[in-house]
Symmetry: C2
DNA sequence: GAACTATTCAATAAGTTTCTTGAATAGATA
DNA sequence: TATCTATTCAAGAAACTTATTGAATAGTTC
């Protein structure tokens, strides 16, 4: 095998991997599976796709070794094959968030309606949490919180927030996080809390970002 | 704009970015541009493509904001738009190197003909260089070495190596590196040095990987 | 073992990507 | 201003990708 053949083969295989990610639905699936395993039905419901279409896209991801399956009763559960998959998605997402004006604008416009405060970055949060009166609020569904969360966070799922507002204190600043930058639970929480007179920001990143940043070694 | 519209738009734009990377030639171009800027002609020559085809692929990368251009005399020079682009490619590459058996096998088979020693990882290298008698050997063309290299490395371009073998000492161990894991200059160097009775390994990673790992702050 | 149910498969039509060829362009040099 | 040269554009054929539909499957539960 000569140099050119070697390169052609390697780059062709790797481009196959990239092609498997190169679809809006499949990116959304990868982002969702960053939360933990899901059945085809759940994936279809959360992403607004038909079941047959979700299944087809999941086959593409499976054939490229980006996801793996496990049977549980009547359901087949899909999960990301390893942490590198989410890490790659995160990097691609960050190119978009940092250098595509179009993405920046859409995200900014969408959030502007929900909050006048800037989102907080994870690096800032961790340094501020020590000394200040910040409370970290995980607004994902209970099951996801139980599967893993940022230390010291309290869990009030977004749909329970109106009923549990009494648990919160006006003297604190609340920083809400959820699944990632494109998850809107945190934006909804910030909007609701701000309207009720609380101090609230969203965290730019979500739980999976914290996990790959700080738990990489322990997870392996 | 509702939640679903917001997500559809963001994921569609980001998938456009991923699609722009989802081609073997374009991945090779990104990898090459990790070394520094290049003209269309140089890119075509180094990757074995026709000029028209290289140009067409460069247009795709440019339209997705992955590369930028600069005119220099008669030539148009292409370069990566920012460090995140190489970082994303690196992560995708690493999924392949770590979890695609097919990639692992091709790389292993190709290297086996060149060397019986395992490649050294960057993390190992840096800890060993202090105390041991390792010499780091950059076998890229002189111009690339001058544009940036790993500290303490000496530069002997692969095509000058046979003529300059007298500069090397048999008491040392030589660790050769070049552009990245799929660059074969280092493999050729290791093969040559081993045949001449020197102790030599290749470094798994290349210069751009060192750069984004250790120079990220200074470059920004 | 029968019935059930989540998931996959197969076929199709519309849209997209790729490479090749040869012509066109824009900018630099003389 | 004319010439030169690197790069881009345009057109077309072949090969992929995608969503939809309805049928098939495989594994579980009763």
């Amino acid at each position: 095998m000569d140099k050119r053949q070697f390169k052609d083969r390697v780059y062709t295989i790797l481009s196959g991997l990239v092609k498997a990610m190169a679809n809006p639905h499949r990116l959304e699936i990868i982002d969702l599976l960053g939360q933990g395993e899901r059945s085809v039905e759940e994936i279809a419901a959360e992403t607004g796709m038909s079941i047959a279409n979700a299944s087809q896209h999941l086959q593409v991801l499976k054939q490229s070794n980006l996801v793996q399956i496990k049977r549980n009763g009547n359901f087949i559960l899909y999960r990301l094959a390893n942490d590198n998959v989410y890490k790659s998605w995160k990097d691609l997402r960050e190119i978009g968030m940092e250098s595509l004006e179009e993405v920046k604008k859409i995200v900014k416009d969408f959030r502007e309606k929900k909050s006048s405060f800037e989102p907080m970055r994870m690096d800032d949060l961790l340094s501020r949490m020590e000394s200040s009166n910040i409370i970290l609020l995980d607004v994902r569904p209970e099951q996801e919180f139980k599967a893993g969360h940022i230390p010291k966070a309290i869990n009030i799922p977004i749909d329970q927030l109106p009923g549990r507002i009494g648990e919160l204190k006006r003297s604190k600043r609340y920083v809400a996080y959820c699944r990632g930058p494109f998850c809107v639970f945190a934006d909804d929480a910030v909007q609701f809390l701000t309207e009720k007179g609380f101090k609230a920001n969203r965290l730019e990143e979500g739980y999976p970002d914290w996990k790959i940043k700080f738990q990489a070694e322990t997870v392996r």
